[in-house]
């Protein structure tokens, strides 16, 4: 161990600690600053100006209540897409906030397309068109202008500090300076994003991070909650995106923008022969066409006008520049070449599907003082960017309510010393035989082969899941022996460990739901049919006494105010 660096502790104290300065985290902080004098610390792994899912920008707001629609019709759409497994109370309360948060973003400077009557121009029934290239910098600038918000950039949070069953803060290390921050707070909001990198990706070589979801979102928020014993929900509803081949750029802009249909290698439209269109069915139909030998599949863009092509080139520069570069480099844009599509590896991401913390209607987790918003919060699919804002607003107001009249808990010196020792363990001693990178590949391979990755057609069965469980347990043991020689290396170790924890819980969820409700997302070969008689239920889990225990819960309806009771 050449340098032999060691971290030193620095103690901080605040009213509300927000973990993750992305979409939800920034909006939660702005909500608190706008409605109270409470002090906030945002702990962010990168730098809030461009961190998280919005780094490259976003091309449209996919969750908005357009004229003629209501929060009820939004809920109907989300319920149908999730085949009934969602928290109606959560989706409904989120949907009611969508238009308010959109207006707030416009006030911060977001450019939104308007029609001749001055109303937002819609793209379909739920989307509005924007220029979202700078959406994250607008948010970050607003956060940085608030006196009561302190941003800790370059801080990788490791775990919550839980005392007597209550979240009283969290700790994390700087990836720039040899400092371990121990932060005590009256409430914690987790907004750390979802989990990428669990499965072998589409492009496993040089471009391994050319993926749909932010590759730097490594499931830390879920893993911290799991280790602390928080209840999690619906991990088995994985998200798999249908994307442009190679660049893994979004397809919605093409399919909705120029009305391109999905065609197979024979030039035939295929999606309609697979029943009602749903997010999972657009993917599943593509998987099945390929499996039947009728691939590759495309979005049919040949014949669009030059003007349409020019607009597509621009639209992609605002969110996924790789696709524009690819078109130009190929010398043939979408007007002269159909766009090949493929499914990505699976992700766990609560902004699209239902995976994440089991929260009450106020977005409180099952650990007192701990709230969740955005991609880490479960039960509320189809959130997208605006839904994450709306949920962050609810979580922030709930956290403010919680801290009223409360004083913080000082973290005792003995606890700080234990925490410091735990993290410093990874910075000492001999480098082990295996590197983080090798263990990461081993994890992705095991998940791909045995837990329904791309190469297994997204399909699982109990025998394979058993093998996945065993392999992940072995890798967790090896993970504990990893050592780093610098702070970037330390971050990579924790990112791997967090993903292994997410895999462990995910495997249990995939095994627990004994039906197939969402094709591809959860394709259970042992139980290939949907079973409404037995499985209109949430599959939840909690890590207790060294084991992941499965809990089945009844569906929560729209007008219920759900509270944690047992």
């Amino acid at each position: 161990m050449g340098r032999g660096i060691k971290l030193e502790a620095e103690i901080l104290e605040t009213d509300v600690l927000i973990i993750g300065g992305g979409t939800a985290g920034c909006y939660a902080a702005l909500t608190i600053a706008g409605s109270s004098g409470a002090r906030v610390i945002i702990a962010e792994k990168a730098h809030i100006s461009r961190s998280g899912c919005l780094a490259a920008g976003v091309n449209a707001l996919n969750a908005y209540i357009v004229k003629g629609e209501t929060p009820d019709t939004y809920l109907d759409y989300a319920r149908n897409d999730a085949a009934g497994i969602l928290r109606e109370d959560l989706v409904y309360s989120m949907a009611k906030g969508l238009n308010r948060v959109t207006r707030n973003m416009e006030r911060l400077g977001l450019v939104i397309l308007k029609d001749e009557n001055g109303e937002y121009a819609s793209r379909g029934r739920r989307n509005i068109k924007i220029n979202g290239e700078n959406i994250k910098t607008l948010l970050a600038d607003a956060v940085e202008s608030e006196e009561n918000i302190q941003v800790l950039n370059r801080v990788n949070v490791v775990d919550y500090i839980v005392e007597n069953g209550k979240a009283v803060g969290a700790y994390g290390f700087s990836i720039e300076k040899n400092i371990l921050y121990v932060i005590s707070s009256k409430a914690v909001i987790c907004a750390a994003g979802g989990a990428a990198g669990l499965y072998k990706p589409n492009n496993p070589g040089f471009s391994r991070h050319k993926m749909w979801y932010c590759p730097f979102n490594t499931g830390a928020g879920y893993a911290m909650g799991i280790r602390a014993g928080a209840e999690m929900t619906t991990f088995e509803m994985r998200f798999i995106a249908l994307r442009c081949k190679d660049t893994i750029a979004p397809t919605g802009t093409i399919s909705q923008g120029v009305g391109a249909e999905q065609i197979n290698g024979l030039g035939k439209e295929y999606e309609s022969s697979y029943g009602t269109p749903k997010t999972s069915m657009r993917l599943y139909s593509t998987v099945m066409e390929n499996r039947s030998g009728r691939g590759p599949c495309y979005l049919k863009t040949e014949g669009i006008t030059e003007e349409q092509e020019e607009e597509l080139l621009k639209a992609y520069l605002n969110m996924a520049p790789a696709q524009t570069l690819k078109w130009i480099e190929a010398g043939r844009g979408p007007a002269r070449q159909n766009v090949e599509i493929e499914g990505t590896e699976p992700y766990i991401v609560g902004g699209h599907t239902g995976s994440g913390y089991w929260v009450d209607t106020e977005r409180a987790s099952t650990i007192e003082g701990l709230y969740a918003a955005g991609d880490v919060a479960g039960g509320s699919p189809q959130k997208y960017v605006t839904g994450c804002f709306a949920e962050a607003e609810i979580a922030a107001l709930s956290a403010l309510n919680h801290i009223k009249g409360k004083s913080g808990t000082a973290i005792c010196g003995k606890r700080v010393a234990e925490i410091l020792d735990g993290v410093n363990t990874f910075l000492g001693g001999e480098l082990p035989l295996y590197s983080v990178e090798e263990l990461e590949e081993a994890m992705q391979k095991a998940m791909d082969d045995y837990a329904g990755g791309i190469s297994s057609g997204y399909t699982v069965n109990s025998g394979k899941l058993k093998l996945a469980e065993e392999r992940i347990a072995q890798l967790m043991e090896l993970g504990a022996s990893l050592r780093a020689s610098d702070l970037h290396g330390l971050k990579l170790i924790y990112e791997l460990i967090d993903r292994l924890w997410v895999c462990r819980v995910l495997i249990k969820h995939l095994e627990a739901r004994k039906e197939t409700r969402w094709h591809s997302f959860h394709e259970n070969a042992d139980y290939p049919a949907r079973d409404d008689k037995n499985w209109l239920k949430y599959v939840n889990s909690r890590f207790e006494d060294g084991e992941v225990k499965i809990i089945l819960r009844d569906l929560v309806k729209r007008d219920e105010a759900y509270e944690h009771n047992n």
Partner: protein, 104 residues
């Protein structure tokens, strides 16, 4: 998926280093930006857009169809010019008015 940095144009201002969501960029021994972990780049292009000197370019890996073209940006108020330079030296520029919404 990765970037290249033209050290003759890089002034060492550190803006690209600051914004990388993966914290993959560092200063080299001459104080210029370098991508220390090229395989970990997401391709978000935050670093390109931050660079005032056109020193940072982005390219597609050969594994995803790259043929040697590079992409960099120049900013002019609310206009963002995207320069795509082909392997043979030909260049195409697409300009985006950031005050205008996407059509799609």
């Amino acid at each position: 998926m990765s970037i290249t940095i033209d050290t003759s144009k890089c002034t060492g201002c550190g803006k690209c280093i600051r914004v990388c969501p993966g914290t993959l960029l560092y200063k080299d021994k001459n104080g210029k930006a370098e991508s220390r972990y090229p395989r970990d780049c997401w391709g978000c292009t935050a670093c390109l857009k931050e660079c005032l000197y056109g020193a940072v370019s982005y390219f597609l890996g050969a594994d995803i169809g790259g043929m040697g073209s590079t992409l960099h940006t120049k900013r002019d108020g609310h206009f963002l010019h995207w320069h795509i330079a082909g392997a043979e030296g030909e260049e195409r520029v697409i300009t985006i008015n950031q005050k205008e919404s996407n059509k799609y």
